[in-house]
């Protein structure tokens, strides 16, 4: 299911011009990371994909649906969105009902809903916490609950807004694994992140935004190697990319495997 954004402009009621002339195509099954400085418009952009925000001008299509013509509730069948702050999203009395809410409301058959719920709980490593109130869990695990409740809806497109914020190494690895599984299932994954090392290790395409516009868009190595342009949007290249550059590597590297490969040359 292709996402097609054409000449998108968005101005908040306060007058802040958050998006200025965004045109972007994301093909079905792509894994895209969006990086860029605070206030660049990253969250504003992804909120257009499920109709939470409507363009001031321009169009957003998700498959054959123009987001202007469909309710947020309907868009939710195609686009799942995991908020930056899980507390904005969780409301049920326990993890099990929280994760079940989405699939049950999409009108799946009971069997399919059960399957989806179980699958999402397993993927998020929450199977032993279904009876717990989400607010009795640490922020780390609340994030996993938010994530599982969206995964359970089995949408073609999944958006993660800052999934690794405040997460430790084990939890970041857990999230990376969820993204890997979604990739294998052919889902489109769009992730906003400031965690540039996480971005480098898990995404093939990177979009850098600055002041409501797209600054760079391309293969991860091509984008992440452009330190001077990235600096204008307050992004440092990944640690190993910087190190490779300092050591005079001819190729841009972004993970340990690539780094060690170049080092052996």
């Amino acid at each position: 299911m292709r996402i097609e954004i054409r000449d998108l402009n968005f101005t908040y009621p306060t007058g802040v011009e958050a998006l200025r002339g965004i045109s972007l195509t994301i093909e079905s099954g792509e894994q895209v990371a969006i990086v860029g400085q605070n206030g660049a418009g990253k969250t504003t952009l992804v909120k257009h994909l499920n109709g939470l925000l409507q363009p001031t001008s321009g169009t957003v299509h998700v498959g054959d649906w123009n987001t202007k013509e469909h309710s947020v509730a309907k868009m939710a069948r195609r686009v799942g969105y995991v908020f930056q702050n899980p507390d904005e999203q969780l409301f049920s009395k326990n993890v099990g009902t929280e994760v079940a809410f989405g699939p049950r409301n999409l009108g799946m058959s009971a069997e399919q809903a059960e399957r989806q719920i179980k699958d999402a709980l397993t993927m998020a490593e929450l199977s032993d916490k279904t009876e717990t109130n989400p607010y009795d869990l640490s922020p780390t695990w609340r994030k996993m609950v938010a994530l599982a409740s969206v995964i359970a809806m089995d949408t073609n497109i999944v958006i993660f807004d800052e999934p690794t914020t405040g997460q430790d190494a084990a939890s970041s690895a857990r999230i990376a694994n969820v993204i890997k599984v979604l990739r294998e299932r052919g889902k489109t994954v769009i992730t906003i992140t400031h965690d540039i090392d996480f971005c480098a290790e898990n995404f093939e395409r990177v979009i850098a935004m600055s002041q409501g516009q797209i600054l760079l868009d391309g293969k991860a190595n091509d984008v992440l190697g452009q330190d001077e342009i990235l600096a204008t949007t307050y992004v440092d290249p990944p640690q190993l990319t910087r190190l490779g550059k300092k050591l005079g590597f001819k190729q841009t590297v972004r993970n340990e495997e690539e780094f060690l490969g170049e080092l052996k040359k």
């Binding site: 605070n38 206030g39 930056q84 914020t165 405040g166 400031h194 600096a231 307050y234 080092l263 052996k264």
Partner: protein
Amino acid sequence: MAIIELKNVSYKYPLTDSPALKNINLQVNEGEFVALIGPNGAGKSTLCYTIAGFVPHFFKGEISGTVEVAGSESSKSNLHEWVLNVGLAFQNPFNQISGAKYTVFEELAFGLENIGVPRDEMIQRVNDAMKLTGISDLADRSPYSLSGGQQQRVALTSILVMQPKVLVLDEPTSQMDPIGTREVFGVIRAMAERGMTVLMAEHKVEWIANFADRVVALHDGEILLEGTPQDVLTSDLLVEKAFGISRYTSVARKAKELGLWKGNRLPVTLEEAMDGFAR
């Protein structure tokens, strides 16, 4: 001289069975910048709350041992006196914004209003603090209309403006862009140079390695390791206990096994990594 001193501190949150902190002994000197690392659930936030007086005064629960900051003992003080010495920036900036103010400027003045700072001084201090953290252009925006990273800068500034002796920061850059993170670490380092004592819970090891004086590694409510960033962040124990480590340390460890690392000690910063690989 030690400005923070914890002796045999153990703590249990209300209605829980297992302690969040176990027998913590910690001294922090005036003007020192100490980073707290550890997996989620290790007790980093709880230790921050303890030094900031929220444990036990706000969260209640059972505490034992003594917590001293700037010569006063927590158990013998009130939270409203304690906050004059110790400022805490919460992990989630949203929890910190008062909700009572329409602009960032007013939000930053809120604490000063409450301790009766004269108007002229208040305006001056708010302006200076905004300049320091690079948020002067946000002065007239609503605190709620900001992005996560911008809110986090506001939350930090609202503490700095109070000029506490001790600054306790719970993952203050978690929602910030990468260069913004580095800048804020620089600001915090500068505050330490001016004599403010800083205790910061943080996962971003690269910047801890560059800016902190000392690292305390917490695991399961206990202090596992303590020492210079170099010593602590290259310890094999961190890998064993699933701590996050810098990519420089991790790749050098692998390169070492392949005979491709020439440095003496494993690196924690870009400079150390360059040095060891370039030999």
